[in-house]
Symmetry: C2
Subunit: 280 residues, 2 copies
């Protein structure tokens, strides 16, 4: 692991790291914000999964999260959204290939060699981060935006006990049934729709436990992708049917951008901190 | 004037505008954040001048300022840092030519046709903005970073009554005496050092009035440019000699980046709001 940048920020440290990923077979970059509290104790942390076209950089520079993370004593990790490099296959669509790993493990060629973002997040980084930074492995949560909201919700349900809470901004909740998800799942997983369902939050929520923490979702009503790609009300109905508590908040006028995320990120960090703090 | 983007943000609106600048003879882009209060009244506003290599976009996306601007009911304008376009001459150095207008009016060819950032900020935008947006022309302040800190300080002293207060992050305070400023001033203004002094905050402060508001300056001690290009202690001594109140704060470990700005921008907006609010 190699540190590429470090910046003091809100009393803590924002660092950019590069490492060779065994899950993805390529070098990867992530950012980590370590609050001042991490100098004396292992702190709780949140993994933030970004959306289509993003790298680690979008959340890192645009979300305005670190003041709140600093106040709450929480670390935040922002990984990239796909494998990278000249050897990694790509596609012309912005919603498939590089920048669009969908947080699943591809089973189809030529994607299956590198496109293993599920293993990268929920296994490789899950173990690597607490080993290399002053993080409390047993006290972590997950959050994401758009495709990263899909990632956060599905990894939360798939990896029981990994993440104490989950929240999302404008998530893709039902990828099997919307164009972005269908293109990606067909490419990465093939035509078997039953395989798709294992990576669809609206399916996975049926395994929810009554002890699960409430899920917080924020959605802008001025979001261009709301009607065709996102449709969070479908997930809300699935949650209610499964006995999973959900707080879906909708916001007049807000769009899909980081201006929307920066407006509500404080609420998400407080949401997670309230659940994590009990375990510090 | 043409609106290019609009995003709801912290209850207000972040807008990106393009317009044909008469001062610069080229199309220019700026961002404006209008807090919710601007829907019912003309609000006070701050012009934020960015540093070398920046466009309007750096402050707009990275500073994390709009939550505080929203809370305080203040608008913020972020202009570009130089004229733009294929017709505009440029230089290989990142600290001269495009992205490096230095907020002065060039007198030397080929720069003098377009490089008139002083007139653009202190005359053209000064009149254009309150005419087109719900802003209180008589209630505005100016702030900047690095080269933009130089711009904010010098325009504050040169344009008496335009700006009620000034603050800066890691400003170039004595451009006549440091490499970045010398290269720019020689190119834009020629070899006459007396002409340079009319654009140097350490010279201009001697015309300060005892009624001037205190100047707030933040400087990171981990800033790579501190010793050679910035040296704020020189300006502090000039302020003290001139009877200009100054609060120069230095911060262990902080560098020259927007992570530094985002950490202290709240203090700057509160500093300006305290002075502006008396005139609302």
């Amino acid at each position: 692991m190699k540190i590429k940048q470090t910046h003091k920020c809100h009393g803590g440290d924002l660092q950019i790291w590069e490492h060779g990923s065994t899950a993805l077979n390529c070098p990867m970059t992530f950012s980590i914000f370590l609050p001042e509290a991490s100098k004396t104790e292992n702190v709780p942390f949140i993994t933030f999964l970004s959306g289509l076209t993003c790298t680690h950089d979008n959340f890192t520079t645009k979300a305005g999260a670190y003041k709140y993370a600093s106040d709450l004593g929480i670390a935040i990790i922002a990984p990239d959204t796909s494998p990278r490099g000249d050897d990694v296959p790509d596609d012309e669509a912005f919603y498939f290939g590089k920048g669009a790993g969908f947080y699943i493990n591809a089973t189809q060629k030529p994607w299956s060699k590198h496109y293993r973002m599920e293993s990268y997040i929920a296994d490789e980084l899950y173990h690597l981060l607490p080993k290399n930074f002053p993080l409390n492995k047993d006290n972590q949560s997950i959050c994401g935006h758009s495709m990263g909201g899909h990632g956060a919700l599905t990894l939360y349900f798939k990896y029981r006990g990994h993440y104490k809470s989950v929240s999302a901004f404008a998530p893709i909740v039902n990828p099997s049934d919307v164009p972005w998800g269908q293109k990606a799942f067909k490419g990465y997983l093939g035509n078997n729709i039953n395989a798709w369902k294992q990576h669809d939050a609206c399916e996975l929520v049926h395994s929810a436990k009554s002890t699960n923490a409430e899920i917080l979702i924020d959605q802008g009503l001025g979001d261009d992708f709301l009607g065709e790609q996102l449709r969070p009300e479908i997930f809300k109905r699935c949650c209610e049917a499964a006995g999973q508590k959900i707080n879906l908040r909708v916001h007049e006028g807000y769009d899909h951008s980081y201006y929307f995320i920066s407006t509500f990120i404080e609420d998400h960090l407080i949401h997670h901190a309230n659940i994590l703090s009990g375990n510090r």
